[in-house]
Symmetry: C2
Subunit: 296 residues, 2 copies
DNA sequence: AATTGCCATATAAAAATGGTATGGCGCTTT
DNA sequence: AAAGCGCCATACCATTTTTATATGGCAATT
């Protein structure tokens, strides 16, 4: 059995006539006659009753006709969906996001999903190192991280924006109430909650350096493994934090707020990171394109 | 696109190698290479990444593979179901049954359904003339009737059994209590509920004739249009009826019972009636075969 | 450097498919 | 009643498609 036979068969069924189907398909009558006979032979079933003025489906033929219509339908669907996958309009996109990038990631994904609604999105939040491991294992296609990475060897990245790093505090722990910016000297002896700086991702490393340069040993009250925890500690009054301004700005109801450090401006850069693979799947390519178009 | 290309494609996907698939399918390698290229051209999509030690599905190729498996599955299903329809193991069987034949019909259908469980059964009860009309309109395939028909011109029939016609009564209307059979003379003046005898289907016609031969005019208290109604009238004490013994026997809890008429034995013959069509659908043929094997 | 295994291409043989001519059959028309 | 018409089936040749053989390029291994 092959498509041509089924196609001929369906045309004959619709025209209720072999010669009629031949006219419809723009081929001669005998080929259709023959293919029909071959199909009947292969199935071992009579599909049409030949009358003097055309043909008529048997019960079995009716069944084949119904099924073959579904067949053609799913054939078209199949071809279309394969093209969609290749074009990146369908498929699976798996992304990793660090807490600091939630805003920018969701914003970008919203635009992406509006443009490619058929792509299934998988998103996972986690620590940068864990996400990078998954990226290496090809379990994620791209990551929303912050620049400063020392690990992006063999990886491609794209800067998506910039974000000033500022001190985070609540009214009780404000080292300089009433002032819009905080002089570095005001941080002497102030307890700080910072991301652990023994790896490469902590935002506070340069701030600590700056404090030492200013002549005092900073007081790190708490080392946090992740940003959400740091925010919670700051909110609980443990001390001041040092985080991208946008994270705090995104929580308008929260009692915490930020102020810049006078004489010290640091920035963190949200970046998109991915493997440099020339055979990247379509939806990943489209996503990276969109990120490129939306990037800074 | 055609089946061969899909088949080759699936084999390559499974072997992760063109030459491997060629060995598997027992064809040379170049044809597969070429059909694959044709398929990719038609879809406008790269389905495999060619490496130095085989090939690897792309995302789009993976999609096509998944879909093509379903495709092959439904293809097999389709062919099988068409053969089933032709063999009579699948399809639709529409039957008409008169009340008197309910027992024999259900019994036969039970056996049929055990043998051909995939056939959808449609059964309808009605008056003989209505059923015959539907048979003529091809809305029913066969009917369970009783012989005596004058209308079966052009129809084929098969006797399925025989059934003595007996008087039906309840204790209050018994014309000869204490006796096993009732002499015809005992029916003089006894009110009777009979199927209307102005058409050809009434069971009582010959009984009325016999009464007249015995020298009295029978007292027909009620003319019934159908058997269930006649039974109800008899049960309500309107008079005695005259019906196939098996109908009453099938209602063991009922107060009505039957007795034969002495010196007059009439029988009715359950028959199966159908159109004489050489292109009868498979399930009808199988059903008639089974009826033939089970018939008297 | 040679060998091996892979895929792609070119070409000739084989197979399948399509077109033309023709015949049988039943119905309608003259 | 015979001729004409439209239908499907068959026979046969032409064309197209598909296959097999031979060969080349390429990368990895020996």
């Amino acid at each position: 059995m092959n498509f041509k036979q089924l196609e001929y068969f369906a045309a004959v069924a619709e025209a209720k006539s072999i010669s009629g189907a031949a006219r419809e398909l723009d081929v001669a009558q005998p080929p259709i006659s023959r293919q029909l006979a071959l199909l009947e032979d292969e199935l071992g079933v009579t599909l049409f009753l030949r009358t003097n003025k055309g043909v008529e489906l048997t019960e079995a033929g009716r069944r084949l006709y119904e099924q073959s219509r579904q067949m053609f339908q799913s054939l078209r669907t199949m071809a279309d969906s394969v093209r969609d996958v290749a074009a990146g309009a369908r498929g699976r996109l798996k992304l990793g996001v660090i807490y600091s990038d939630v805003q920018i990631a969701t914003h970008l994904l919203k635009k992406y999903h509006e443009k490619y609604p058929q792509v299934e999105l998988y998103v996972r939040m986690g620590a940068p190192d864990d996400l990078l491991d998954d990226l290496g294992r090809r379990e994620l296609h791209a990551l929303f991280l912050r620049s400063q990475s020392g690990r992006s060897c063999g990886l491609r990245e794209r800067v998506l924006g910039e974000d000033p790093l500022e001190l985070v505090m609540c009214p009780e722990t404000d080292p300089a109430p009433g002032r819009d910016a905080i002089p570095i000297q005001a941080l002497r002896d102030v307890p700080m909650c910072l991301l652990r700086s023994d790896d490469l991702w902590g935002y506070g490393r340069d701030l600590l350096e700056e404090c030492r340069r200013a002549g005092f040993v900073p007081n790190v009250a708490c080392h946090c493994y992740d940003t959400p925890m740091e925010l919670q500690m700051v909110q609980a009054g443990f001390g001041v934090g040092f985080l991208p301004k946008s994270i705090v700005a995104a929580h308008p109801g929260s009692p915490v707020y930020t102020k810049p450090v006078l004489e010290f401006s640091a920035r963190s850069y949200p970046i998109l990171v991915w493997e440099d693979d020339p055979y990247q799947s379509g939806c990943v390519r489209r996503f990276l394109e969109l990120a490129g178009a939306c990037g800074l």
